[in-house]
């Protein structure tokens, strides 16, 4: 290759920066034909992973370690003065003598994998997972029971019975579709809008309610705001309010699972807003470099409280970031339970088999408000919300599928609605009646053992209540 002449360098740069169609983009993998199959957007260099840099010479502590023979893409390149190939440790790439910026493509971004159309009809029969009736009914009933519970608990907050609530309207498909594709022992790290995963794993209504009410049955001992569920038995790590903190944690858990040869995957849920946090970047990078069996599941529901995606990011969503980290990535229709299922199933199989992370961006829509502290009519139109509620809802799409299979009908629908409402109301009334935990539980579990100074503080509160107890709501708390 000749080095550019001075004249070439003096050419106006505009010539080099024309917008190119995807077909012409160097190295961009052709996805059109791959839509038939379960398509994972490969890294920009196809199946080939980016070779990591050469191991650095240890600082003055002896010879460099011999090359890693277990990692073929880490073998040191042989230096030769005859080679005009790049030798930089930082990238595996060819030279180019044309000045050209890569144009980010958000107009025709990563395509959205789906199995059903908006009316619940299978588009490509070979993509139908052919789940047995029982399983599809479980998917349907989990979503609808969650929906019913959401309505009742949202109301209960409005009535001042619980302090706070977050609904899952419109996103039920992302929860159950992914949960159904996992093993029951796969560890779940959530953000706060994944109650359907617990629902699918048969977390009892009584315990959902107990946590929201902070009553004596709450396994969390009344310490957190409502919807901060956790369940050890069902491998669902307790939710915390700070966003995205669970992402690097999930990666660590996956690393430990890999070391233990547990054949488990870890799944980590987060929203498109949380994906802006530094912890998300940290988690993605660690998962890729440390080769962890983890599924990153992003619920892109269009809003982070009032902030629309146009103010959250400027690139092609979250899926497009995956290849930047060397992560296998896909975008799916989050309102299509089967698409979510298929993608999660395949990601799980490969994550465990190959010890590498997978990123699934599930496109969906947050039909409800962010929480009971939010009134979303302040920042979006009722029409927009109605469209999703009426025209593209995971529950109705699956119901259409059930109907077309002859596995469901109007009568069963009516009976189930009545039954699920009754179950929820019963659990709700019970939860209301139970007392709150003993105030001593304010002090335990800070450490595994209670430090001496904290015990003194606990005793000090006990003494205080002896004198001033009338000013405290003791009658609602366990003695």
């Amino acid at each position: 290759m000749d080095s550019p002449s001075l004249r070439e360098l003096q050419q106006p740069l505009l010539e080099s920066t024309e917008c190119e169609t995807p077909a012409q983009k160097p190295g961009r993998h052709e996805l059109g034909s791959a839509l038939r199959e379960i398509a994972f957007a490969e890294s920009l260099r196809g199946l080939q992973f980016l070779s990591p840099p050469l191991p650095s010479v240890s600082a003055g502590l002896g010879e460099p370690r011999p090359p890693d023979v277990e990692h073929p893409h880490r073998q040191q390149q042989q230096f030769s003065s005859l080679d005009d190939k790049p030798q930089f440790p930082g990238a595996s790439a060819e030279f180019i003598d044309k000045l050209e910026f890569i144009q980010p493509n958000v107009i025709s971004g990563i395509p959205i994998y789906r199995v059903m159309d908006r009316q619940g009809q299978i588009i490509n029969p070979s993509e139908d997972p052919h789940l047995p009736k029982e399983k599809v009914l479980k998917l349907y009933k989990s979503m609808t029971l969650l929906n019913t519970m959401d309505r009742i608990l949202y109301e209960s907050q409005r009535q001042g019975r619980i302090s706070f609530y977050m609904t899952n309207y419109g996103e039920e498909g992302t929860h159950v579709g992914s949960a159904a594709a996992l093993d029951n022992t796969d560890l779940v790290f959530g953000q706060y809008r994944e109650a359907g995963v617990l629902m699918y794993r048969d977390y009892p209504l009584e315990l959902f309610m107990a946590q929201c009410y902070g009553n004596i049955s709450d396994l969390g001992k009344g310490r957190q705001m409502p919807v901060h569920y956790g369940c050890k038995e069902r491998h669902f790590v307790t939710i915390s309010s700070p966003l995205a903190t669970q992402i690097p944690q999930a990666v660590g858990a996956a690393y430990a699972a890999k070391r233990a040869n547990a054949n488990r995957v870890v799944i980590c849920y987060f929203g498109e807003g949380a994906a802006s946090e530094g912890d998300a970047h940290a988690g993605f990078n660690f998962a890729a470099t440390l080769e962890c069996p983890i599924i990153f599941f992003c619920r892109n529901n269009g809003y982070a409280i009032s902030t629309p995606t146009s103010e959250q990011y400027r690139g092609d969503g979250i899926a497009a970031r995956g290849p930047g980290y060397g992560i296998m990535s896909i975008r799916v229709d989050g309102n299509d339970v089967f698409a979510v299922y298929n993608a999660t199933k395949e990601a799980r199989r490969r994550a465990v088999a190959e010890n590498q992370p997978f990123l699934i961006e599930a496109m969906t829509y947050r039909i409800g408000h962010h929480s009971t502290s939010d009134d979303s009519s302040a920042y979006r139109s009722v029409d927009e919300v109605n469209y999703w509620d009426k025209q593209d809802h995971p529950i109705s799409r699956l119901r259409h599928y059930l109907l077309s299979q002859g596995w469901w009908d109007e009568e069963q629908e009516k009976a189930w609605r009545k039954q699920s409402r009754k179950k929820v109301m019963e659990a709700f009334e019970q939860a209301e009646r139970k007392p709150k935990p003993n105030p001593n539980l304010l002090f335990s579990d800070v450490y595994q053992e209670m430090p001496a100074q904290l015990r003194k503080q606990q005793e000090s509160l006990a003494r205080h209540l002896q004198t001033y107890g009338e000013h405290y709501p003791l009658e609602h708390f366990d003695k």
Partner: protein
């Protein structure tokens, strides 16, 4: 005459060689011998620059833990880590540059011995390191994370304070990350300036749910680090970097534990209680000698060892006896951990106090570079404060 001249010449050459040797150590290779003909004043300045503000005082050889070996601080840390990985097959060590042995050599040899899945580098990201460590610990495996300098722990502050510290409490004990230990080099080193000298223990003292531990010596470090690793709560272990090489003593080869949340009275006395941790313990030890020699004052010297939860009883018991308390730390005065100790002691021992509690600390400035000798709470400042307390 000739003999004297010869002797003087010999002395001059010796001093020149000594100074040059010092210069070579601090300035690196490549300076020609002829370049360095230090005049007397430059030589003195050079030598003064190298004198540390403390003298490490080794403890007597421990007898009760079996065979010992002379180790410096970083070697005692390596030994603790070696013992941990040998005993606990789930234990892993990770952080920036730990694979080749670490920038302070604390992890030398461990990757070769235990494998690359157990001792490995992470990307350069403290929030990731701690978050990742929490996740490992949540599964029950032992996570030993290294933050390269305590000055860089702040990106991980959210993960430590909002997550690690609260994991057990917020889940009602369904989940915890007790098997997480974070190790980090800490404290002044002579030339570290703003970002290689900090002592951030006070930030973490305000956070229920974690333990913060700081050793004064290799023997203490190994026992305390092993206790942190085995403790069922997330722990931060700060290692005084100036002691990594400067402190060496006999340390048992086998594992042993030194209990957390127990201060140690390393010298008994009757007139004043001196409290410090880490490097500063050696400073106040020297101050105690000075007080004895110059003022006839008997000092009780306490190494706090665990910052939180701290051993209130031992400190108060001492102050009840002596009536006077001096606390010293490198970290800035305002909001430093001495304020917590001072406040608690005046609550518990008010009527026993003969003088106001004295705090000798760094100034309320970032840690300076060239002004370090003026910044640090050295023995002269401590001695002066003690003198004022005695004469109160």
């Amino acid at each position: 005459m000739a003999v004297v001249a010869a002797a003087a010449g010999w002395l001059l050459r010796l001093r020149a060689a000594g100074a040059e040797g010092h210069w070579r150590r601090f300035r690196g290779v490549g300076l020609a011998r002829g370049f360095l003909h230090p005049s007397a004043t430059v030589e003195d300045a050079a030598q003064r620059r190298q004198v540390a503000h403390f003298t490490f005082q080794p403890d007597p050889e421990p007898r009760e833990y079996g065979q010992t070996q002379k180790m410096n601080l970083f070697q005692s840390v390596t030994s603790a880590l070696d013992n941990s990985l040998a005993k606990d097959p789930t234990a892993v060590i990770f952080g920036e540059d730990v694979a080749f042995g670490g920038v302070f050599r604390c992890t030398v040899g461990l990757r070769d011995k235990y494998g690359k899945d157990r001792v490995f580098n992470t990307p350069l990201c403290e929030q990731g390191i701690v978050g990742f460590g929490i996740g490992i610990a949540v599964t029950g495996a032992t996570a030993i994370a290294e933050i390269q300098f305590a000055d860089y722990i702040f990106p991980a502050f959210d993960q430590i304070v909002n997550e690690a510290a609260k994991y057990r409490y917020r889940s009602g004990d369904l989940f915890n990350c007790g098997s997480l230990t974070i190790r980090s080099p800490w404290g002044c080193v002579g030339h570290g300036a703003l970002y290689h000298s900090q002592s951030p223990e006070a930030f973490f003292a305000h956070c229920p749910g974690i333990k913060v531990v700081i050793p004064r010596s290799p023997f203490q470090a190994k026992g305390l680090l092993l206790s942190c690793i085995e403790d069922k709560n997330p722990c931060i272990f700060f290692e005084p970097k100036i002691l990594y090489r400067a402190a060496a003593e006999q340390v048992p080869i086998e594992p042993y534990n030194i209990p957390l949340s127990q201060a140690e009275v390393i010298q008994e006395g009757s007139d004043v209680t001196l409290v410090a941790w880490g490097t500063q313990v050696h400073v106040i030890r020297e101050v105690a000698s000075m007080a004895k020699e110059k003022l006839g004052v008997s000092c009780e010297v306490i190494d706090l060892r665990t910052i939180i939860p701290w051993d209130v009883d031992t400190v108060c018991k001492s102050v009840i006896k002596t009536g006077r308390l001096l606390i010293s730390h490198e970290a800035p005065l305002t909001g430093g951990f001495a304020s917590e100790i001072s406040s608690t002691v005046q609550e518990e021992c008010f009527l026993n106090l003969e003088a106001p509690i004295s705090r000798v600390c760094g100034y309320d400035t970032p840690f300076p570079h060239i002004f370090e000798p003026f910044y640090i709470p050295d023995k002269w400042k401590c001695y002066d404060a003690l003198r004022k307390m005695i004469n109160y």
